[in-house]
């Protein structure tokens, strides 16, 4: 069992947990993910690592309620435990292997969207700890859904926050901020790392391609085992089949077929949605969709 040491609601439907998992905390790197499973009947849920504490042997995860299992997960409290918690899975961010002096000469721009702010954090923190300050853009639908702003402020160079509805800081999409920084302010970046909803990553990539700014994205497709066995997470990257779990989750964003990836993301939408409704409505759930009893 993997004990939850802290459970906190960050925003509507978004939660943070510190989980005791010494083996993972000892070896994980920014960019990698874990798979959590609540109990015997839960799904295997892949989540990118948000933070880790090697000394205390803990992993921090941030998740949003999207289906029956994440809903149940949100109800778990400190002191309770996951039946299963496995990792670290996937490849670490590519730039971690680079020579630190070369890296210091690179100007990096991180673009975080929504709950994608969580996996951006350990990368920016790692850079900060190695004496590199990266610029960070956080995009959120609205002020209330913005997460990890203070933590990010501590480790980022410049932090730009934008909300779709203008309820906090700038108004508009993250792409508008990128355009403003690069085109209007003439800032030069060597690489962009964009993590967030697939639709956001798609539009960031369309823009950075135009700006000739190399861009890395972190893909979060449907997965089962997370070790390469099932192939559910396959993506078309530059015309080749890649498995997000073993080849990724980070890829060259300019090569990813986002339209196909987004369609694949929908694959279990109806079934998951139904399971969620059934869980929410409990005994009062009678279907009506023709698929439930």
């Amino acid at each position: 069992m993997y004990k939850i040491l802290k459970a906190e609601k960050l925003a509507e439907k978004i939660y943070l947990m510190d989980v005791s998992a010494p083996r993972i905390a000892k070896h994980c790197q920014p960019g990698q993910f874990i798979i959590a499973k609540i109990d015997e009947k839960g799904e295997r849920i892949p989540l990118t690592i948000c933070d880790y504490d090697r000394e205390n042997g803990t992993i921090t995860i941030v998740f949003q309620i999207v289906g029956a299992s994440t809903l149940r997960m949100s109800e778990m409290k400190a002191g309770e435990a996951f039946a299963d918690f496995v990792g670290p899975l996937g490849q670490a961010s590519e730039w971690i292997k680079e020579d630190i002096e070369t890296l210091k000469n690179k100007k990096m721009l991180f673009v975080a969207g929504g709950v994608g702010t969580a996996p951006v954090y350990p990368q920016v923190k790692w850079l900060h700890e190695h004496g590199i300050d990266a610029d960070v853009i956080i995009g959120s639908k609205t002020k209330d859904l913005l997460i990890l702003e203070d933590m990010m402020k501590e480790v980022a160079g410049n932090l730009y926050v934008t909300t779709d509805d203008g309820s906090y800081e700038r108004k508009g999409m993250v792409t508008e901020v990128i355009k403003d920084l690069v085109v209007n302010q003439g800032k030069k970046y060597d690489v962009c790392v964009a993590i967030g909803p697939m639709i956001m990553m798609k539009f960031v990539c369309l823009l950075t391609k135009e700006l000739e700014l190399p861009t890395i994205v972190s893909m979060n497709p449907i997965m089962v085992d997370g070790t390469g066995m099932c192939g559910a997470c396959r993506l078309n990257v530059g015309g080749e089949i890649k498995f997000a779990c073993v080849d990724g989750p980070e890829f060259d964003g300019h090569k990813v077929d986002f339209d196909q990836a987004m369609k694949r993301q929908q694959q279990y939408k109806t079934a998951e949605g139904r399971a969620m409704l059934a869980a929410q409505e409990g005994d009062t759930h009678h279907g009506g969709c023709g698929n439930c009893n």
């Binding site: 083996r23 993972i24 070896h27 499973k37 009947k41 839960g42 799904e43 295997r44 289906g67 029956a68 299992s69 149940r72 039946a83 299963d84 918690f85 496995v86 990792g87 670290p88 899975l89 089962v224 085992d225 070790t227 390469g228 066995m229 099932c230 192939g231 559910a232 396959r234 993506l235 078309n236 089949i241 498995f243 073993v246 196909q260 369609k263 694949r264 929908q266 694959q267 279990y268 079934a271 998951e272 399971a275």
Partner: protein
């Protein structure tokens, strides 16, 4: 009784079992088993033993069954096999022990598999446990993977007094026995879990949720965690796809995904959260055991199912019994047929598959006649789900993170057959990680060989 024929085994009727996930074959009872045992000629130079990858003393155990000494029969099997209830169910007996049986020359071979199954089931029902080593020798061995090769290797080493820890990447022990082979062929709670408990009762520790190469590497296990030797039985790996257009459409699954969702994640049980796209009309591409398992699973989830295979029936690599059962249950076999393209609707879902008819030409490198396209024979199958059961390619997780571990050009780990020795000192390997996708019993044979290899290595160290 007709001595030329096997005592028939009771099965669920085809039109009942194709709606449930209960085991198809019900097995012999004691009377039936004892009667079948009388058909064994107790050959001095027993050919059946030579056909068995773990060399079970078959005539000896059958002789005990004949006398009604089932516990004694279980002990004899236990000297060679740690997982008899499983092997009795999933071994391809027709090409192994039963394929060599003298009875088979004129009539039907002795039903060795069903007898083995009976003995193991009887032992379980009567709570007979395998015998544990008297004391440990203080030497630590890590076994990677809790599938058939890992369980066998661990069991054998524990009996010799080693302290064995199995590391399993998934949340449940058993490897392909739990994620791959379906419930109706190999019941999980009664049979698989029990065999794993037996291995544990020998003193073997199983650590789940540890991905070797990620959570910890082999070098770290040996240098930091004090393991004296390591056995790699990590299994087959990444599912293959055909590389035809439309293959990433929604509704195209690898057999691994489809089976894992259903077997390991129990999608067929309503109280589990796991979703599965059951499909209404399903094509399974491939002709091996995995293809049969996926097809029969889809059928039980309510679909009309076609097996699409590019060669003819004679070349189907699946066990004869699986093909026979699949046909009985109503699966359609589209043989000498090869997919060319998966047709996709405007929402990205499968709507059909373009296929072409094949004929058999000259034998190819595998010795089987090579299928050749018949020009102009294209046709379309209307479908909503396609399951690819085309085999696997090795998982690089371990080979890419272990210093000095040699792989061959197919990326399989190189290990000798006799003792499972790899290019790295103290590291042994066997099963699908070495051979590519094969059978449960061959993996068990390799696990056994490696246990011998490890014992020899550590005894002389």
């Amino acid at each position: 009784m007709d001595v030329l024929k096997k005592v028939p085994v009771r099965e669920q009727a085809p039109d009942i079992r194709n709606h449930n996930f209960e085991e198809v074959c019900l097995g012999y009872n004691k009377e039936e088993a004892m009667e079948e045992a009388t058909r064994c000629l107790n050959c001095k130079n027993a050919q059946c033993v030579k056909g068995c990858p773990v060399s079970i003393n078959i005539p000896a155990f059958i002789d005990e069954v004949k006398k009604g000494n089932i516990e004694e029969a279980y002990k004899i099997i236990g000297q060679s096999s740690a997982l008899p209830a499983i092997c009795g169910r999933v071994c391809p007996q027709e090409s192994q022990c039963e394929g060599k049986c003298i009875r088979g020359i004129k009539g039907e071979a002795v039903s060795i598999g069903k007898l083995e199954r009976f003995v193991a089931d009887w032992a379980r029902e009567n709570d007979i446990k395998p015998e544990k080593a008297d004391s440990t020798n203080g030497k630590k061995v890590a076994v990677i993977g809790s599938g058939p090769s890992g369980l066998t290797c661990a069991g054998d080493l524990a009996k010799l007094g080693y302290e064995v820890t199995i590391f399993e990447a998934l949340h449940e022990a058993g490897g392909v026995l739990v994620y791959g082979i379906p419930e109706f062929r190999l019941p999980k709670d009664t049979v698989v879990k029990h065999e794993i408990e037996n291995v544990k009762s020998l003193g073997v520790k199983i650590d789940t949720n540890v991905v070797i190469g990620k959570s910890v590497t082999i070098d770290q296990l040996m240098e930091e965690e004090g393991f004296d030797a390591v056995f790699i039985g990590s299994g087959a790996g990444l599912p293959r796809f055909m590389g035809i257009p439309g293959e990433n459409a929604n509704g195209v699954f690898s057999a691994n995904e489809y089976l894992t969702r259903n077997n390991l994640m129990k999608a067929f049980k309503e109280d589990y959260d796991t979703p599965i796209a059951a499909g209404k009309k399903v094509a399974v591409v491939g002709g091996g055991n995995v293809a049969m398992d996926a097809a029969r699973t889809a059928l039980r989830l309510g679909a009309e199912v076609h097996i699409v295979y590019r060669r003819s029936e004679a070349e189907l690599p699946a066990r004869a019994e699986e093909v026979h059962h699949a046909k009985e249950e109503g699966i359609v076999f589209d043989l000498l047929t090869n997919p060319k393209e998966i047709l996709v609707d405007e929402n990205g879902w499968v709507k059909g598959m373009k296929c072409i008819k094949m004929e058999l030409g000259e034998p190819d490198a595998s010795g089987r006649r090579k299928p050749v396209e018949i020009e102009g024979s294209d046709f379309e199958l209307e479908l909503d789900t396609v399951i690819m059961a085309l085999g696997t390619s090795p998982n690089p997780l371990i080979s890419s993170t272990t210093k000095g571990l040699e792989v061959n050009k197919r990326a399989c780990i190189v290990a000798d057959e006799e003792f499972g020795r790899t290019s790295k000192e103290g590291v042994f390997a066997g099963g699908d990680a070495v051979t590519g996708a094969a059978t449960v019993i061959l993996a068990m044979g390799a696990g056994k060989a490696a246990a011998k290899g490890i014992h020899e290595y550590l005894s002389n160290k």
